[in-house]
């Protein structure tokens, strides 16, 4: 069994927004929700809003809600709760002290470990990635990393969940449950794993992520799935991707307001429907490429979003899941290194509770095991940096300094023996001599690939109880049968 070694209590601090600036963004956000409104294309959602006195236009499905209603609703959200795991030792308290990395999600292609060729993703990839990530101490939880495209759309998201539970004891989060039907089945599966409905509320082994539809709208299916999950006590997050100059204003502050209005209004809805439900803020905002409109997933604006968003989540006193890593690069290269390092540093230094996530290239589309392991290396470097510099009698090392004196060395000092293992030891940085490199000019990414193969071949996760496995499979089959009968409510 592998443990988790997360970033905890970072000693470096970063203030990207002052308290006054956060208040201005908040005020602008409430103004937007009240005067411009947010579209909620779900009859259920509109009913909830109406019941609480918001102004609802049934035609356009736009909701305009007073700031006080939003603020009161958000006050019901618990500030601290755990993401539970099949193995309780791997539960993750979202307590504002930890920064946990998860995998990135919903990739569509995989760079095959054996052939190096890019191909369509399948259920087997979901299983194998889960197994490898189970062994990595940097990966604290799973997002469904790629889509099981060899399974029917109506039940695909459920096959994916079962595959991860079969191959790992860590917490699972999904972004692929986008209909009420899937959500009901996912809750049933999670109850089976947790040991009942009450137990699931206490220890949610599954959490749900939904996307907002920038600018200023939600997706109907996602809302209905989220409501089902929130009522069952699963943590639910809403992620905005409002991007500068396309789905958000060109300025970072303006896009923060638009994104904030989307997330905050969705979280408020969850609290109105299920008071006290655990919710979280999520964001993967960026700036578009001005030439082709592409979602860049990198660049200075992206990194600033990474740090600014946590100030908002803290203001609302809910956990944050921040899009970091997620490079736009096509392969594990210079661009991937720089983008994933800076985004992860910024999001971690402000103590974002969850980071999404490791392993995908090309704007969250292509899974690469090499990138996975190198992303973990980035996380490990950032973790070391955030531990900061300890200054006390022992670390000032006066005895060792006296002992070595001018011109001596510290190699054989007992102090060195005591502390050298605290120094960072890279796995995927090339520190060999030039000659050694010339003789065998392989690269860190080759070592990463080798390591992934070793883990895949050698790591045996704690298996799921066969009875439980059959129970999960039964739930999935039931959904397939139901979908055959009424295909119209199949996933969007």
């Amino acid at each position: 069994m592998a443990g988790i070694d997360p970033i905890v209590d970072p000693r470096l601090r970063l203030e990207v927004l002052t308290a006054e600036e956060v208040r201005r963004i908040h005020a602008a956000t409430l103004d937007v929700i009240e005067s411009v409104g947010v579209r909620f294309p779900s009859p259920r959602a509109l009913d909830v809003w109406e019941a609480h006195g918001a102004s609802v236009d049934r035609q356009t499905m736009v909701v305009r809600a007073p700031g006080t209603l939003i603020e009161e609703a958000l006050r019901q959200a618990p500030p601290v709760y755990p993401l539970a795991a099949r193995d309780p030792a791997l539960d993750l308290p979202l307590d504002g002290r930890h920064v946990y990395a998860g995998t990135d999600g919903c990739g569509v292609e995989v760079i095959d470990l054996e052939t190096g060729e890019k191909r369509r993703s399948s259920l087997r990839d979901v299983e194998e990635i889960a197994r490898v990530c189970d062994a990595l101490e940097e990966v604290a939880f799973h997002w469904v990393p790629v889509s099981a495209q060899d399974r029917p759309p109506a039940s695909r998201s459920l096959h994916e969940l079962a595959a991860i539970w079969r191959n790992s004891t860590k917490h699972v989060q999904t972004e692929s449950v986008v209909t009420a039907r899937e959500a009901r089945a996912a809750v049933e599966m999670a109850r089976a794993i947790a040991g009942g409905a009450d137990e699931l509320r206490r220890r949610p082994v599954l959490s749900i992520m939904q996307c907002t539809t920038s600018p200023l709208a939600q997706d109907g299916g996602s809302l209905e799935a989220a409501l089902v999950a929130a009522e069952a006590g699963l943590p639910v997050g809403f992620m905005t991707m409002a991007s500068c100059a396309f789905t958000g204003p060109a300025t970072v502050a303006g896009s923060l307001v638009v994104g904030n209005a989307e997330v905050v209004s969705a979280l408020a809805l969850m609290e109105l429907a299920a008071p006290g439900a655990p919710v979280y803020y999520a964001a993967a905002q960026t700036a578009i490429d001005l030439r082709n409109g592409a979602y860049t997933g990198g660049g200075p604006e992206d990194f600033l979003f990474g740090a600014a968003t946590n100030a908002l989540a803290d203001f609302y006193n809910v956990p944050l899941s921040m899009g970091s890593f997620a490079t736009g690069a096509k392969e594990p290269d210079w661009q991937a290194g720089i983008e994933n390092s800076l985004s992860t540093f910024m999001a971690s230094a402000v103590v974002s509770d969850m980071l999404l996530g490791v392993g995908l290239l090309y704007g969250s589309r292509i899974w690469s095991y090499e990138q996975l392991l190198m992303d973990c290396e980035i996380y490990a470097i950032v973790r070391s940096m955030l531990r900061g510099i300890r200054v006390d009698d022992e670390s000032l090392a006066m005895d060792a300094i006296r002992d070595a004196g001018p011109g001596g060395d510290y190699l054989t000092q007992p102090h060195t023996q005591r502390h050298m293992r605290e120094l960072f030891r890279p796995r995927f940085l090339d520190r060999r001599s030039y000659g050694a490199w010339e003789t065998e000019p392989d690269r860190p990414r080759d070592w990463a690939r080798r390591r992934a193969k070793e883990l895949l071949a050698g790591h045996r996760p704690e298996p799921l109880d066969p009875g439980l496995e059959a129970e999960l499979a039964g739930i999935v089959v039931a959904v397939e049968v139901e979908a055959e009968r009424s295909p119209e409510s199949a996933p969007a």
Binding site: V108, S147, P153, D219, A245, F246, A250, R291, N292
Partner: protein
């Protein structure tokens, strides 16, 4: 006088000033100008200017969008008169475009549509979450040369196959060509579902559309 009007039309597109483009179109009609001349000699050169400067990195997407919008507004003013004279704009081809049923990603599809319009195609954009039959109806209605289907989700890309099949069942294939695109779509997928082409981005989509209509 006419040349001044043409220059102003061109400028309205370059500046992306839709109100001005519309106003100039109305003035042209008032002066009895042939609407086709207004388009071809007034507005299209503006669009070409924007396209050229976009290509060399001096103008950006938001400026392209504004130019396309101004163009659309001007053409809308000129259209009734074109219909009255029974003149049809010379276009490279007619494209019916949409994001497939169940899918609401629209940014890429909009870009493709804009680039196609700017390159001389007549584009009928059906929006997002478009039922399969709607593509067929619209293709019939406007006598389309190409149906373009965008899908960004692995769960909805299967709908691209349904559109190909629906067009076939309606007897529109192979005359009406099908092009597909979107994040999970690959050349292999396009071949597998019997589409005529695939492109990875908006510029590629224009080249592909040109090829498909033999332009």
């Amino acid at each position: 006088m006419t040349s001044e009007l043409f220059a102003a039309m061109r400028q309205s597109i370059v500046e992306g000033d839709a109100d001005r483009a519309e106003e100039l179109a109305a003035r042209a009609l008032g002066e009895g100008m042939d609407p086709l001349a207004a388009i071809d000699e007034g507005y299209v050169p503006g669009l070409r200017h924007v396209g050229d400067h976009f290509a060399i990195g001096e103008m950006f997407l938001p400026e392209m969008m504004l130019a396309a919008r101004a163009m659309k507004r001007a053409v809308a003013v000129l259209e009734p008169e074109m219909a009255r004279r029974a003149s049809r704009r010379r276009v490279l081809g007619r494209v019916v475009l949409g994001t497939v049923h169940g899918d609401i990603h629209e940014i890429g599809k909009n870009l493709v549509g804009m680039m196609l319009s700017a390159s001389g195609f007549e584009v009928h954009d059906l929006g997002v979450d478009v039922p399969f039959e709607r593509f067929v109806e619209k293709a019939r209605e406007v006598d389309a040369d190409i149906v373009g289907v965008s899908a960004l989700l692995t769960t909805t890309m299967v709908g691209q196959r349904s559109v190909v099949e629906a067009l076939r069942d309606a007897g529109l294939r192979p005359r009406v060509k099908v092009m597909v695109g979107g994040a999970p779509v690959t050349r292999g997928w396009a071949e597998e579902i019997g589409a005529d082409g695939y492109s990875e981005d908006a510029v590629g989509a224009v080249n592909l559309a040109r090829q498909l209509v033999g332009a």
